[in-house]
Every structure is written in structure tokens, then in C-alpha cells.
Symmetry: C2
Subunit: 253 residues, 2 copies
Amino acid sequence: MKETADLDTVLGKAVTILRAFRSEDRVVSLAELVRRTGLHKATVHRLSGDLVANRLLDRADGGYRLSGGLFELGMLASLERSLLEVAMPFLQDLYERTHETVHLGVREGHDVVYVAKIGGHRQAKAPSRTGGRMPLHCTAIGKALLAYADADLRREVLTGPLERRTPHTVVAPGILRRQLQHVTETGVAFEQEESAVGLVCVAAPVLGGGDEPLAAISVAGPRHRFRPEGHVTAVRATAAALGSTLSRRDLLR
Amino acid sequence: MKETADLDTVLGKAVTILRAFRSEDRVVSLAELVRRTGLHKATVHRLSGDLVANRLLDRADGGYRLSGGLFELGMLASLERSLLEVAMPFLQDLYERTHETVHLGVREGHDVVYVAKIGGHRQAKAPSRTGGRMPLHCTAIGKALLAYADADLRREVLTGPLERRTPHTVVAPGILRRQLQHVTETGVAFEQEESAVGLVCVAAPVLGGGDEPLAAISVAGPRHRFRPEGHVTAVRATAAALGSTLSRRDLLR
DNA sequence: CGCAGCGTATCGCTGAACGAGACGAAGTGC
DNA sequence: GCACTTCGTCTCGTTCAGCGATACGCTGCG
């Protein structure tokens, strides 16, 4: 699972610079980019200038920041977009029924990528972000995806290292395997503070008839007042409705 | 208003290729990319390969398609993101009150860029897309932004060419100017099928105390059943609440 | 003052990127 | 079947864009 792009090509370096930005920082200085990327100072300087010229980066006070042009480009990505457009009404309904934080995620490698996150004023402070990633094994969405995924993938994840995110993260392959089996039996997956302390979650896979689930939907809330069991029906119904809508269209990847 | 990026640099060419994708197409063939970009066939071929290696593009059956990696990158763009995160709950509330299509947009040049679009099963088929653009003069959001914008910008737009999108698009500067004045008097802007036939819309600016509005919010619906006047209060209240929340934090650009 | 860290600018060297062109495969019309 | 087009892929010699070492001016700090 190599993270780094090809640094021998201009394009690889440019992408490396872009990916050096993290969600938490507003602006990043040139020096910081040099540190994070390991590229030569002059190179970062020059490429950043090019990136600004191409509207992928903006100059800001203390350095650079990802530009709105990048946002526009990202929203053109077709798979995520068509999935999102079809799913949005269903997610809205689910939100109205629960008034809790609703997620839509797809699998990419051993991670879940969140395609949408909607919530009201009362939403739980979850580490998830639209466009963000989380390991499969420590989120409800991830477990829902994994339970219905290809057996090879499941084995890969179970035998690979299971990163501990909180004291409650399940890092024992045996326990996780049993949980996944339970998911296929009940159709829903749970998470009990496994990705973030205080956060509990229930998810259901969006099945489209193909080998792998198309996505998964979850409802999350703070542990002290949120009972995931109470939303099993809603989540499962929403996921099923979305799944049949999607497979009626030919959005099967 | 030059559209084309710098074609003398690898980066410019790469971005040109990425921007050659439109929202409507799922996959684009190499030949089509060559046609749209005007680049040499070998160049597009080579660069596309590099873009795939850097996870900005995916190979698909008939050619290429924008990759999920680009989506992830785009969602990192900070201004849009922080605005979006704060605004989401307000948009949710507005949706629940109206159950019509809700938009959030910011100004970029002479266009509005939609940062969010939420709607249920009954939503009007609007040409807007999250991450998409529309001219300022023919949308409710655009008029709301324009009416409260800098006088120079307003003059620029009014004296520049006003593209006709539908038979109802206001292309007479005089009429548009009067409409904008009315917007500042009432605090809301309307659109009557000016960007798409059958679509009507009401919008309010999100003011943060600075010179320019931070964004604008709109509610849209199909003309035959949707009365924008009925949602004036809701839109205005939502925009005001969002504005004061935003200015309480230091998200002023 | 001296030093450190920053952004920016200069400048030869070199290999990455260039585009013309060749090639085979697949489709189309006759 | 054949001629012709269109497509994706690959090769190859040329060259200029990108490279990084280095230098410079600025700012803040002890």
C-alpha cells in the first residue's frame, strides 16, 4: 500500500504537493510543504506557482491553500457524483426520520471514503468528513462493506494489521470475523466508539446485485443519548431502497 | 476572461485534460480528449497514463474517467469546506421547512459556484450541480450576490454581455439594475425561469459584515406548483442566521 | 549584532517531455 | 473480401522545461 506518487515526474510532484494539504490546515507555508513533501525548496516554489496559475492552488497570507477550482474539478468525478445524486434524497429522508448524522460511504482499498455526510445542529462530532477516509475495520460503514465484500478482501483485511484508533477498536481478527458474520446475518453493522471515543453508529450495505456492495449508509450519534438499535429499521430500509433504485439504473460501476 | 490554462507546461496540459471532462459524460475516449484539448495524441496518451498513476484518472472501458482520488482532493479545498460544514445544518433546516431544492453558492468571477445542493425525491430538475457554475445575472443566488457586491463588479457585469439562457433571461441592463436595487431593498432575489425553463427560485445573501456577501442561499422549485413568495421569510431567516454564525467565527475569507 | 528561517531569484546541466510517425486491431462501407 | 477510417499504443531522435545548488534580501529573535 504505497502512499507516495511517482516523484520523478512533474505531475507526481504536483499531486504530492496537493496531497500534502490536510483537512485541518487553512493555509500551508512553502517551508511546511517542503518539509511534508521532501521535495527541493526551489521545486516546491516553482510548482506551487504553476499550480496557482492553473487554479488548483491559491496564494494566501501565510502561504498557499487549495483553491476552489480544485473543488469544482473534484465534484466532476463521475462515479461519486452519480451515486451522490441518486442517493441524496434517500439520505435526506433518513436524516428527517432520525435527525442524526447520516453518512454515505464507498470502499476504496482497505478504507471507506465518505461520499456524503449530512447532519443538523445537534450532530455528533465525528472524525468523518465528506471526501475523507477511515479504515474499514473500525467503522460501521466499513464493517457493512467488508461483511458483504469479496472473501479475498475480507481475508486480506483480517490478516493484515488492524490499526487501533481508540481503546474500543476491535483489533482481534477473531472477534472482528465474528462481528462480520453477524452483520451478514442481520443486515446491519454496529460501531461502539471504535473510530472515535463517544461515537456510536449503525450501518447497512447498499446492495446492487453485483459481487460487491455499491456503498453503505450509516446513522451516527453521541453515545450518551444515541441508541443505534433504535435506527436499525430505518437504516436498513433506506439502504435497501437506494440499492434497488441504483440497480434499476445502470450505475453498477 | 481566458479559459485556457498554460499549455506550455506539463501541469497546464494535465489540468486541461482534466477540465476537458464534462459533467454529463461518464467515460471519455482518448480520441475525444485529443479533440477537446487540441493536444497531440501522443501527449494526451502519455499524460493520461501519468494521471492514472497519480489517481486523478481511472481507466474505464471506452477510455478514461475522473477518479475518486480527485473527489477526495477536491473536498480538501478549505474555503468551500469550512463554509460547507458550518452551513450544512442551516441548509438542512431550510430543507425541512420547505421540502424543496436548497442551494448554497458563492461568487467566483462573474459566476456563481454551487457549494451545496440538497433536495428530496420531489426536487425540481435544475441545471445546477454541486461544484457547478452559472452566470450571476440569470440566477436568484447570483442576483443576491451581485446586488450586495462591490459597485465595480456590478458595473462590470451590467455593462458586459448578458448571456441569454432561456427566453425569460433578463438581458437588458436597465431591467437587471432595477431588479438588483429591489433586491437590496427587500433582502431577497427572485428568478423566474431565467436559467432554466420551468424553474423558479428565491434567494437571500449571507452577509458577514465584510464588503462582500460570503455566500447566498436559495430555494428552488418547479413553476407549476412552487410559489417562491411563500418562502421569502424562511430563506431570509436562514441566510441571516448563517451569516451571523459565520461572522462569529473568523471565516471571513 | 549574528543567526536562523523564510520566500524569492539566478543559472548552467540534463533528462523528461515532446511530436512526428509507424503499427496493429477493430469497425465500416462497398 | 478489400479498401479505408478510426482508434489506442509504441518508438525514437530532438530539445527545451524542469531541475537543484546556490545566492540574496528580509524578518524575527536571543
